[in-house]
Amino acid sequence: MLEDAELILEFCDEAKEHLDSMDMALLALEGSPEDKETINAVFRPIHTIKGVAGFFNLNAIGQLTHVAEDILVKARDQGVRLRSVIIDILFEVIDVLRKLIEDVRAQVPEGNLCQEVTPEIEQLINRLKLASMDDETKKLGEIMVEQGSVTEEDIEEALEKQEKEKQKIGEVLIKSGKVSTKDVAKAIREQKTQSKDTRKLKPDEGIRVSVEKLDKLVDMVGELVIAQLQVASSDIEDSKLGKNITQLSKITRELQNLTMAMHMLPIRPLFQRMERLVRDLSRKSNKVVKVTVKGEETELDKRVIDSLGDPLVHMLRNAVDHGLEDAQGRQNAGKAEAGNIYLEARHEAGNIVIEVSDDGKGLPIKKICEKALQRGLITNDKEYPREEIINLIFHPGFSTAEKITDISGRGVGMDVVKKKIDSLRGVVTVDSTEGEGTRFNIRLPLTMAIIDGMLVQIGQERYIIPTHSIEESLKPVKEQIITCHNRGKVMRLRDSIIPLIYLNHLLGGSPLEEEKIESEGLVIVVRDGVNRAGFFVDNLIGQQQVVIKSLGEAFKGLMGISGGAILADGRVGLILDAHGLFEYYSLYYKKDNSQCILKSKK
């Protein structure tokens, strides 16, 4: 054993952590290569590793980190642009360092640390050095050639001289009398504007605020909005007061938007992480994959971004592993060798839409059908719209239980994706054309704290149905309602048939006569991405924005109710969740389809 064995092992552990943090920082750097803070975040761990490596005489690690460090210093202090080539190489450096450190760990018990700088490492070092030398901004010489003030030969000559005399190229050229000072100045100016162009606008300066404080602020503003709404909804006769209240409303709304915006972050880092993931995945599966990212600057609620990672990983893994064909397959299908994956974020009608698509072989609809038939999700006697069939892959257990992956290749963890998106109050749909590709469409609300809701009257109570899950509302005519024996009632809606849910019964209100509801009530057609149903309500009260409040620990496990909101009169209205209600409905019907198990109060 070595004397320093313990120390070295400790170093290995630390170094591993450092490399992990570098990985993250480097990805961030890819998006904003000039952010000094990010450069530092890459620099610090590598500097630490270098220091300790030197201490233990770990040559290869030492040299590699040294070169990498040099580049970063240049980038930080001299403004050398970290181009994607350099970042690519830095990624490689990290991977090599990981391996080297594992080697060291393995060597410790043997007692001798021998680290040679292998030719591969040397090559890597050289590449890194080289890449850092040529700057992306055009060479002064090139610009002058373009401007016609010198010829290429002149430049080459001057370059040689420059090497020897260590002078700036401009000076060499002026000295040799090839160009006038004015021309050089012009070229330098041009070079400067060019390099400015490549620089993105600096982000706004900011201060760090803890999420907790921010949450509190959002809560307080939420309260303010409620208070303001309460004031505004009272009868105001004094016209001056009325005017002031209108003004107050405006300010409150502005304030609310502002606080909401504080939770928003660009989706860029997440997309970058995904790009890296695809990069690694494609290497593993030996496929050439090109990722095209659009709309990385789209801003999302931080909490949404945080929980969007998992679903995206699932979808991308599917896309690379199963969606895209291998090189041979693509050739046979007459597609370009490199598979394409598109990742896009955009605003659309008050929602954030995230799309993950590929140009692979698409979903095997036939097989999904067979599987669904086996599992009794669909029946033979009915034609299903294609869309409905495809979206069956989100059905819980559809993928995992039957190992559909082995047969058809798609569907791993799709129910997980669905659940996650549901929990974000989003909707995920999929569209696929066999042979052409698959497109996942995730629609998310702009913020997690406020929803647009439809206030409805059900029995004695008012409930809120989130607008995003409402398709339409209508007054049904008698002929539309059909009773299925023992399976409740259904409604014919144009060319489809949807189950009818009597919310009043389901939610345990006083069991009114169904006939009365049918003649007086309204049906709201609601969907949760997979299922569709009509909710019978007594009346629509109106559309309203509400701040979602948790009902707290005591009511954990409620199905179909996602929270509460404080209504304009100060009372609590419960927010319904379509997906949960569908689940609850099937549970409720399974158990007993005639008797209401819920309390009917008072």
Partner: protein, 179 residues
């Protein structure tokens, strides 16, 4: 031997002396440790929550916070009574799984704050095996009456407030009529 019993007695009642808020339910006085009481509010309109047992009245808006409200009469299996002008909601703070939670309890009327000393305290009497006394922290005997001191954390935490789980797991209707 008698000393041993006395000692045990002391142990079980010590630490329980102090201030109690008393309230009444069907004529019986109950006491709540004053430290658990956050405030007393008049009855306000409660929004019922589905899928909950009968004793859960629903939720109310307590200055922007949504808190559950429990009807103690129903919870204790006493006869339900329409609210009167003396009916109150006592907001208590109990320990939940993740930090403290506020809950409102509906009682017939609130009486007073009492200082209960050691000499007035009695151990929970043993009603025999069949009677569960975990809701009761102890008894206090004052001049003319007996006050039941409630272990409010046990009262409110002992049962899940949502019926779904029992429903889906056991498929039966036994739990539904739990009162």
């Amino acid at each position: 031997m008698p000393e041993a019993i006395l000692e045990k007695n002391l142990e079980s009642i010590s630490g329980k002396e102090g201030k109690y808020l008393t309230f009444s339910l069907v004529g019986q006085e109950y006491g709540l440790e004053i430290v658990k009481v956050k405030e007393i509010i008049g009855v306000m309109e409660v929004t019922p929550v589905p899928q909950t047992p009968k004793y859960v009245e629903g939720v109310i808006n307590l200055r922007g916070k949504i808190i559950p409200v429990i009807n103690l009469r129903v919870k204790f299996g006493l006869e339900f009574q329409e609210y009167t002008e003396r009916t109150c909601i006592i907001v208590v703070e109990i320990m939940g799984n993740s930090g403290s939670i506020f809950m409102g309890i509906v009682v017939d009327s609130v009486s007073e704050v009492l200082n209960i000393g050691l000499e007035e305290l009695e151990e929970t009497p043993n009603f025999g095996i069949k009677v569960d006394t975990e809701y009761i922290m102890g008894m206090a005997k004052t001049k003319d009456r007996v006050i039941i001191l409630l272990a409010i954390d046990q009262v409110l935490n002992s049962e899940a407030m949502v019926l779904i789980e029992s429903m889906s797991l056991k498929e039966g209707g036994k739990e539904d009529g739990e009162e």
